[in-house]
Amino acid sequence: MSILEVENLNRSFGGLHAVNDVTFDVMPKQIKAVIGPNGAGKTTLFNLIAGALESDSGEVKFQGTRITNLPSHRVAEQGIARTFQNIKLYSNMTVLENVMIGRHVRTGAGFFAGLMNFPKTWKEEREIHEKSMELIEMLGIAELADSDATSLAFGQQRTVEFARALAMEPELLLLDEPAAGLNIYETAEIAETIRKIRDWGITILIIEHDMSLVMDISDEITVLSSGKKIAEGLPEEIQRNEEVIKIYLGEEDA
Amino acid sequence: MSFEQLLQYLLSGVTMGSIYAIVAIGYNIIYNTTGIINFAQGEFVMLGGMTAISFNFFMPLPLAIFLSVIIVSFVGAFIDIVFIRNLKKPSVLNMIIVTIGLSTVIREVALHIWDEKVRSLPYFTGDESSSINIFGAYISPQVLWVLGVSAVIVIGLTFFFKYTLPGRSMRACSANITAAQLCGVNAKNMVTLSFMLSAAIGAIAGTVVSPITMTQYDGGTSLAIKGFAVAILGGLGNSTGAVVGGIVIGVLEALSISILPSAYKDAIAIALLLLILFIKPSGLFGSSEVSALKEY
């Protein structure tokens, strides 16, 4: 059974039909990539799934539950985490604190409990702290724990964003261009990290422009162009697909 | 309510409404060019009146008004050049805070220059006892001056923005500042010009309404709020909307006296402002997408 089902999803902005009747599935523990030229509607699709944008029509189902048009914090509660193309780390907090926020959905101390600092919240706070440190260590950035999150190098910020998303213990992880702005070595590291995450049992849906990364790690690829899905299949199939080649390289004279 | 009474309220409402509309247009000019809301807008009106009153002591009224408008426009330019241009972190919050600070300081300076006495310019034609009979309602000739001057300002600005080079450059800035700069428009100067223009029309409004409402050092604040309410009602940046909005709020305010104690008259515009903000912040004529995008 699919973990994510997108059915006939539609979204327009004025005259621009950004996402046009898109349907696809993601299988559990799969790494699925969504590719397409700029303006194909990939980020809009992500925003629709993650609840950051409302759809005009269509359905999104997560583990059988309808999540269409749920606000993003509710989508997060369902078990879907996402990263952002332009890394939205919290500038006013340290790396550790950024990751600790990731634990928000899995914990429950409320506003009043926060004011009062009841003893029963002490255990939860300790756990949040420990789990966050664990994640930071697992991803190899332990020494950066107390650094100001936005003062780090780009590649390190990406890793922090990963840690933060993983702290949510999601079942589905939406990665929005994780390799953007990274060099070859950093991209290879990201590929490793993504595989590690999948081995932990997390399904991954990724938007990416970096074809080497996509071909390297994806189990399946969906191709969008001008809002429509034009191809879907294994990496080798997509590489040979004429439609796909056309939209990336332009028409060849017959 | 008799027809004459209704007409009286309506005329009174439209009169004040035109002043609110002028203030609102002042907001719109600066907002369109810069995206800033200038909270000190009301003070321009107050300064216009006050300066003209002082000048009037030793020069004829028309000259006093003319000079006062010139001086207040330079105050507007000064505010932009010294304060707005030098903001280190020009976020919306910071600009709001700076203009609030400026409005406070201007008010206090006015208090120290002119003290808290209520003053007014003499009536442009006639005096406080002259009145004109319009279908049974009695109005002061000054009312016609207010309406006339307001109409001239609106028409003048329409012409300015449509047919003159500086006007079109300012519109270019508001549409797309980078493109405007690439076409050779000096954006910084356009901003200063927008401040000067807003200040000038505010000052004109301040002088023409002075005999009716009197002028006082703290008169700017309530005008600022009401003018803002009008600007929002009409759709921020939309000056036709400002005129309609001004008339609506002015008339509602005037009619409210027949229902509520007059002490609450000032609260009408504010209550309306809150209502609009809660229901449709883009106002009567604005588009909700534009108002959502133009946050920062």
Binding site: G51, A81, K88 | A229
Partner: protein, 362 residues
């Protein structure tokens, strides 16, 4: 019992408060404590506002309105002489259930009024309701729309207290009775209780600060700070931003109201100027100077500036001074004066100066 390091500044504050009182008593300038007491209550408004403005980036130009709601509610409720109403249902109920306080006034007449503890509770409840109702639509707005809406709210409160007979119109409400706290202690302007009142005020403020420190370091506090850092990312992490913004708005309103109630009893009265826009602007100026997200900066600045203002050091330029502060801060120190960055920069400058001195000495 190990005391968490986050509470250390509170202990330092406590020490400072005690020290200040001892010094002022010994130097015979004890009357200064009155202004410090008032500054303490005003600081309640300011620390609440810092949380709202600094940690969630929402501006409020109408917070004096909540101060006024608190103060006026308590003033109105405690200035109804129940003794005169003996025989009517509600008055008897209040007096018989121990919810009232008796005293004799200067003419030997019996004065019975509603217990200020009850009026405090009611004031807080009313504030919560109003903040809730206003907050829901207001917090959907952004930028200058939000600012103007809060300004509008503050102005409406001002117009109401200025215009309504029950609130004393321009004269406000006076003869507000003392607030009995414990045993013989009460919050009032009685100069015999000056030192006690000073400690009461700073105790209340201390508790207020303590609660906020707890909040900042808690899960909810992180959620709030994440909203300020990036609202989109916060949402994506499961933070219900609308709910949290509302919660902090209501909390900051309650802080302001509590300050209003207690100060009103201390002063024995309240007037419409407490609800004025200038007061709201003043609070915003102080938060801006202290550094928006800087609880301690806001506290220090709040007490300092209010104290100076109350002792008349700004003379008739009072409002202008705060206006100038706003301008100067936004131009030169948009993140506030007492921020970590500024201190670091200052430290560096001093170090460089010392290094230069050393070199010239060689």
């Amino acid at each position: 019992m190990k005391i968490s390091h986050k509470y250390v500044p509170v202990i330092i504050l406590l020490g400072g408060v005690i020290l200040f009182q001892l010094i002022s008593t010994l130097s015979g300038i004890e009357y200064i404590l009155t202004q410090m007491t008032m500054a303490g209550y005003y600081a309640m408004v300011i620390i609440g506002l810092t949380m709202l403005m600094g940690y969630t980036g929402q501006i409020s130009l109408g917070h004096a309105g909540f101060f006024a709601i608190g103060g006026y509610t308590s003033a109105v409720l405690t200035t109804q002489n129940l003794a005169a109403l003996k025989g009517t249902g509600l008055a008897d109920f209040i007096m018989n259930s121990g919810l009232s306080v008796s005293m004799t006034d200067t003419y030997g007449q019996e004065l019975v009024y509603l217990s200020p503890w009850i009026s405090l509770t009611l004031a807080i409840l009313i504030t919560i309701i109003v903040a809730f109702l206003i907050g829901i639509p207001i917090l959907k707005l952004k930028g200058h729309y939000l600012a103007m809406a809060t300004l509008g709210f503050g102005t409406i409160i001002y117009r109401i207290v200025l215009g309504a007979g029950i609130f004393g119109e321009a004269d406000g409400i006076s003869e507000v009775p003392a607030f009995p706290v414990l045993g013989g202690l009460s919050i009032s302007g009685d100069s015999a209780l000056r030192i006690e009142n000073y400690y009461i005020a700073w105790f209340v403020l201390g508790v207020g600060v303590l609660l906020l420190i707890n909040l900042v370091n808690s899960r909810a506090g992180r959620a709030l700070r994440s909203i300020h850092g990036s609202e989109d990312a916060a949402s994506a992490m499961g933070v219900d931003t609308a709910r949290y913004k509302l919660a902090i708005f209501v909390l900051s309103a309650v802080y302001a109201a509590v300050g209003g109630v207690l100060l009103t009893h201390f002063n024995g009265g309240i007037g419409p100027s407490e609800a004025s826009i200038m007061k709201s602007v003043r609070y915003v100026a102080i938060v801006a100077v202290g550094g928006m997200a800087n609880l301690w900066g806001a506290l220090i600045m709040g007490v300092l500036l209010n104290f100076l203002s109350l002792r008349g050091y700004f003379g008739s330029y009072d409002d202008a001074f705060f206006g100038v502060i706003l301008i100067v801060i936004m131009l030169f120190f948009p993140d506030g004066l007492l921020t970590r960055d500024n201190f670091k920069g200052l430290k560096q400058k001093i170090q460089r100066l010392i290094a230069r001195e050393k070199r010239t000495a060689e």
